[in-house]
Symmetry: none
Subunit: 221 residues, 4 copies
């Protein structure tokens, strides 16, 4: 609205304020993430989130519409981060079986181990919440599955193979997403076996490859 005409560059202090605002937004988001992962969504109050971020509960409402909004933001952020990592891994491996391996390793080593709170939010705290959260989560998983499916299709194309049925590619994607998710829950959230994780990743990838091969129908000529 009120803008001084002919002011091309925002002032120093305006820039600093903008920066501070973003920082605060992030501080609050990180506080919520930490608490949701540690104590659970319903066991965390807005005041606690404020406390940890060193602001008042009212301030939290300046940055987020409501509590649900925080969770959704966290879920989307985590999901975006996750998809980007996996996607990059695939792209680097140039649509080969190698890509499947890479993606698995990246998932465990670079996502789960580095961001256990994100894993907890995506796979535990955002489950069975409100309808809105559930739909965001569903959407996220649909996209993840689609990502994997597309990768599988690219691989099969490159290798000149076809899948057993129309279902296969999607189902494979669902299975892979499912088993990776469970491994994360089982070996990170429930027990901390992060030191074994590379072995686990290796065998998980083998399992995946074995499964995928089983659903390949035949070599196309």
């Amino acid at each position: 609205m009120k803008k001084k005409i002919a002011k091309q560059t925002p002032s120093r202090s305006a820039l600093r304020r903008q920066r501070e605002k973003e920082q605060r937004y992030n501080t609050i988001l990180r506080s919520a993430e930490t608490l949701f992962a540690k104590k659970g969504y319903h066991q965390t109050s807005m005041e606690e989130i404020g406390d940890l971020a060193e602001v008042s509960a009212g301030t939290v409402y300046f940055y987020f519409k409501n509590k649900e909004d925080i969770l959704i933001t966290l879920l989307k952020e985590g999901g975006f981060h996750f998809r980007k990592m996996i996607g990059d891994a695939f792209r680097q491996a140039d649509a080969s079986v190698e890509g499947l391996k890479n993606a698995g390793v990246v998932f465990f080593r670079d996502f789960c181990v580095q961001h256990p709170e994100k894993v907890t939010i995506i796979f535990r705290e955002a489950v069975g919440m409100t309808e809105k959260v559930e739909s965001v989560r569903k959407d996220l998983f649909k996209r993840m599955t689609e990502d994997i499916k597309q990768a599988l299709l690219r691989i099969s194309e490159k290798l000149d193979t076809a899948y057993r049925s129309d279902l296969s590619a999607e189902l494979l994607a669902v299975c892979i997403a499912g088993l990776y998710g469970r491994i994360a829950t089982y070996y990170l959230i429930w027990d901390d076996r992060s030191k074994d994780l590379m072995n686990i990743a290796e065998e998980a990838v083998l399992f995946t490859i074995g499964g995928v091969e089983k659903l390949v129908a035949a070599k196309k000529y």
Copy 2:
């Protein structure tokens, strides 16, 4: 005031009362199950549970310690039911690869399709609740995984094969449990593709077998 001392056999009416009590207990449990699956745990109040069971909220507390107790009961009950089904399937197949197939089919056809509310509770409503619920759930999944692991070990023993590493059997179990769970969520809770379920089950079993074979090291002599 007459009091029958040393009453060996319960009277008719005592028996009837006992029976009615059990019925009521079940009615309440089923009401809660229905509502938890439909509206979610937190969105369901004790009064609603009572209403659906045609008793007062107070009465619910006669049968269950508290709301959490209902969820835990439901979780244990569903888990028990589930394990029994799968276990029986394995036993009937006499610890063979056939058993793996059977178990998969039973899981989808006889458990998921027949008891979608149980699936919803185990895989959605009981996730990320209280610590106590979480620990029961964790315990349930550990047992499930152990069941599968034992089945896998029995199969390999019978076939005179060995797994790739000490981890393998457990990891396989985790993977299988994970992918089956996700399929249930994806194809039943999120979208209703129950009519495709037998095809899905078939390919899921194939995937599983392919994965398992990949982690078999070698034939023992």
Copy 3:
């Protein structure tokens, strides 16, 4: 729901409980009325209402849906009471000019003086609240006005006279309701001149009659 068959009369204790429940409902309603009239609707918290009624704030919600519901109940109750009084006064006076006098006296002497809190609620606290309250209030005033209008029409019929225009009867009713309302506000809520009220009532009635006569067109043959 649960009802013992063949139980004609409710038990003593059931009756007593029913009575107590009604009493409590009334106690809460009276507490709210008192506080709304004394401190104003927005300045009164649910907890204060509970306190005065010697129950917890939670209990207030057992009897009323929310705060607005209390105000609406009070408004309807007051309006009903009011209309009944005035209506009876008219009926007793047998649709004559005498009726107009009676109604005026009854309004001031039996309603305003006896129930000043109701006056305050109807003419002050329920003004300009939520849309819902406003619509109830509007409805109440429309009915009051209609009551007066009908009374005026009956009088004119009996006296074989007609009003100046189609508007007249309604307008007269609006005027009468308005001036009575203001007198109540002015001489009771703003200043306590209740000891002069009978003189005020007398002159107000005279004013009213003078005004009504002015809008009578002519004697019908």
Copy 4:
């Protein structure tokens, strides 16, 4: 740093600034008036007022002490406007019965129809607010009533008549103010019958005159 000592005449730009300041004050006041009339005082936030006036919420506080202050300003402003109009009408009619008619017409035609938001604020939004607002409103109505009373006294003096009792003049004023207020509420705020307003005004004036005559005791010699 130069500083002009003893600055007699304000500079051009100071004048402009002064003018802009007054404009802004008015813009804010008008925004508040519009919103209070449309949505109600409590349903309007300071930020909304700022938004409509194209300033920030903080700026509103530069021009007004607080929210209540805005309402009081509006109430006083509306009241002043109103009294001035009616007063002028009386003065022009030279203290005659004609004056009563004029005032009525002016009230409906020039005040109510032209400034419906002011009517809404005076007769609805400022009712039953804080003590302070209530006292300003009371004060306003006392002045209005006094105005009317003085007009009535001047008329009676000029016509060489006297009122029935000491109360009469004041009571008449109260009645007139009351019935006019209610007509405005009934035919403008509740239903929009502004097209019938001149007929309504005519009959309302007749009613008034009829009422006033009834309280005239006798001709003085």
